[in-house]
Amino acid sequence: MTTSLTMNLPVFVVIAPLFVAIMLPTFARRMRLVEGLVIFVEALGLVGAGYLAYTVLSQRGAPLIYQMGGWQAPWGIELMVGNLGAFFLLVISGVSLPVALFARGNLTEEVGGKERITRFYVLYLLLVGALSGMALTNDLFNVFVLVEVATLSCCGMVSTRKHPRAAEAAFTYLILATLGSALVLGGIGFIYMITGHLNMGFASQEINRIWQTNPHVVWLAFSFMLVGFGVKSALFPLHVWLPDAHSTAPSPASAILSGLAIKGYLICLLKVLYNIFGHTLMQEFAVHRILVLAGTIAIIAGSISAFAQDDLKRRLAYSTVAQVGYIVLGFGLVNTKGLTGALFYMASHAVIKSTLFLAAGAIIAVTGRKKVSELAGIGRKMPITMGAFTLASLSLIGIPLLSGFVGKWNLLLGSMESGNIIPTAVIIIGSVLCAAYLLPVIRVAWFEPAPDEDWKDPGISQKLALIILAAVVVILGVIPGPLLELAGRAAADLLVLR
């Protein structure tokens, strides 16, 4: 029994959230049960992901391969629990559990009645399941299907708000994301037509063997994949849907969208770039330069746009655009340090941005004020919420001993190693800009006189969620050890010559 459980753990991690999600609509009215089940399955996912990460860390070398239905690699679908998969699974379950905790009993205002809340939770669990699938899958077409599940559930969550702008934002998001997935599907089609394989390992071998006979097709597949996943993960010129979608969604949804969904697409991009084309082909086609350039522009432009926003949630949404720039820049550095930095930055940004969005959501729910300039003195009235917000912002800026610093430091080392001065400078300038748009919020909240109103911290489970997330931010900064080790090994795996 135990061996069967551990043997099939990769599948269980993916289908447990889906299983609960499928079951939930049949007992929509019993709210306690629904919320309990959601948190229970998230906790189970965390345990499973922790166990998988422990297994991967303790047995160096070969990744765990799970063959769906017992069919061998080129014929069937493979799940691969490598360092990358275990790392991302840990991030997913680590962030989605506190967010679910925050959502508990807190959605009536933003989502509506019991049935609507249940449906919201179903979409949430479907998103988590699809993201876990993305972390583990080793098959190209499976990536497309999972991306589609994630896109639909994201759009569904955005459209749950009553305001008509939510529907508008969801429509723009849906159209652009579908455009992106059409491009991704096209890219998969081109790869399939010249290699004849959908499995990433086999396709990679084949494409590295034959790319010289049709270089244009490889180049086209590269650009389709880059633009497709770029739209989905809001890489700078393609980010137009993000600010609306992320600022109008209910706050737990904003947290999960900004924190995890975008990272899922980035992980898919990473897998396609490094596991299929490989870094030699990337350098041959100068894709790494494009990535560095796109990341640089995204950091500068995203930060400046964030600075111009007065709406708190919109400011955070634009900040996500800038942070995606850091991660993509790390992908383009093509060395171990840079990739480690990008991966760790991904994890820390997932935690930080969820904290920021949840805190912003709590503040808006209590005070009803959305503008940064109206938040005077909120820190004294809501110390825990604002404390978590402050810690997370400091971490995003890159203060030492907080999680953001570790990622940025590795990115800096990587960019110095690559010998290019521009990314190094941009990472530092980005930190300054980040301070410029986040520190005013903190200053207004703590150092200006508080208005005479009865504002309090939110309920117990919301406080707990914020405290957990803030604690994770600090812990990752002080002892990054195991997670950094996992990220480093994942980066080394990605750079292995094929």
């Binding site: 069967s4 599948v11 289908i15 299983f19 499928i22 049949t26 239905g69 017992g70």
Partner: protein, 141 residues
């Protein structure tokens, strides 16, 4: 709609459309077609019924509760069929490896779990199409 001829002809044709949908679902593994095509045909027969006789009558045939249950349990059926493999000690969604009898090729009962999964998916697709239709129609009125 109040058209007499339309109603009479629909009453004659629709049962056959419904049965044809089931036929396509069940013969997906021996002939062209399959659970998705069959499921759409099956769903369309109900949609045609509700357009011709009115949404209320269609709703009376398929209440919301039934649709929710078929949707949830139709998808769950798939996962359960996958679990057969795990129970038998082989990977998820295994069919031949799980020791299921594959039957005589070409017979209706061949293919082991494939025909069972196909049936579940077909009914699930039909209920999805009908739910989408009802949701949009009720918003309209």
């Amino acid at each position: 709609m109040k058209d007499f001829i339309l109603k009479r002809i629909a009453a004659i044709i629709l049962p056959f459309v419904c049965i044809y949908g089931f036929y396509v679902i069940l013969h997906g593994h021996v002939s062209p077609g399959g659970s998705f095509a069959g499921g759409i045909i099956l769903g369309l027969s109900f949609i045609a019924y509700s357009t011709i006789y009115g949404t209320e009558k269609g709703r009376a045939k398929l209440p919301e509760r039934v649709l929710t249950w078929t949707e949830s349990y139709g998808t769950l059926w798939y996962v359960m069929m996958g679990m057969v493999g795990i129970v038998r000690g082989v990977p998820f969604l295994a069919n031949k490896l799980a020791g299921v009898d594959l039957g005589v090729p070409g017979a209706l009962s061949s293919g082991g779990l494939i025909s069972l999964i196909g049936l579940g998916v077909g009914i699930r697709v039909a209920s999805t199409i009908v739910t989408l239709f009802f949701t949009m129609m009720e918003e309209e009125s």
